[in-house]
Symmetry: C2
Subunit: 200 residues, 2 copies
């Protein structure tokens, strides 16, 4: 099973907190937030329920922590990309389109943040503000890049691309790899072109 790396973590003395978050993210991703119990998480993380509850006051807090970590990871990737393509924002945009597609192809379960937004129905859940924050940050990065690339209506383009990628990920889960999601790259490129491609 996928217990190998966890055991390794135990041996290498990775703190339980990190092991729990890593394991929980994996299980939540595969089976959904309500599809996995804290006991299963603790056991898969090579620890126990008591230690889990000593680090996270409740399952909801653990969920929020997992999404926070996911957002932190995504932000770090963005930072690296932005540094790499600092002098060519338009290429960064096209690179992001390709990468978003590649990530979706590689994993049919979509975006953890968006999935959580669907699965969490309570409006005052501790994860709600994390979800909103991460998604807003993502869109704002896109908007900044669109501005830097000199597009006419950068804000609207950022919104359109945001909706497009969100839709691709959920469509993938609905109809699989042969559905509209498979044309995400073409659709995104067409939109980018329509928003000012010919400007050069």
């Amino acid at each position: 099973m996928s217990k190998g790396p966890v055991k390794e973590c135990v041996r290498s003395r990775t703190p339980p907190r990190e092991r729990i978050i890593e394991t929980a993210r994996d299980l939540f991703h595969k089976h959904g937030l309500r599809g996995v119990g804290v006991d299963a998480i603790a056991e898969a993380a090579g620890t126990n329920k008591m230690t889990l509850y000593r680090h996270f006051g409740s399952k909801d807090d653990l969920i929020a922590a997992c999404l926070t970590e996911a957002g932190r990871e995504a932000a770090q990737e963005w930072d690296e990309w932005e540094a790499e393509f600092a002098n060519d924002p338009k290429k960064l945009l096209l690179e992001w389109i390709d990468c978003a597609m590649a990530c979706a192809v590689e994993d049919p379960r979509g975006c953890d943040i968006a999935n959580a937004a669907v699965e969490i129905t309570e409006p005052d859940h501790p994860a709600r503000k994390v979800i909103a924050q991460v998604k807003t940050d993502h869109r704002d990065r896109l908007a900044r890049i669109c501005h830097a690339a000199g597009f006419r209506d950068a804000e609207l383009l950022a919104d359109a691309l945001t909706l497009l990628v969100e839709g691709a990920r959920v469509s993938w889960q609905s109809v699989g790899p042969e559905g509209p999601g498979s044309r995400f790259v073409q659709a995104a490129q067409a939109i980018v072109a329509a928003f000012g491609g010919p400007k050069t």
Copy 2:
């Protein structure tokens, strides 16, 4: 004493099977598939768990029946629209864009079919084929309309609009009414315009 009038009212309405589906759809929509139990559904439908299980072999079957009914309802609305705008497919397309936005504004919980696709993780769940069928039908209708309206790349336009509306609904659940979803109409109209509008 609180027995008679309520029961009579309930009984004189519709057969239990329809009441159960209607009630289940409402509760599933509000709290998610895993967030509501069959007992609560039966009670809210004015019946009991035993009758529910006599009509639907399992909760999963009930879920599949609910999604089937949702798809049937949506198809009927489409048929009416197509009949109404039979001689002006482009206006139908724009009308659909407005209506999709209006529906999303009215209800922040998104699309039941797409939400189910997110929440159901088992690949062999009886609802999976229903989800794929309904979503595929929706895209194909859009494609037919785009073709009829004379767009250049009707297939890609249909895909793009599909992804856009799916994304709008999930974005609404992530960041609320002020997020990118609020610019869905503008984005969709811009894409339609970019794809050539009238063929000239």
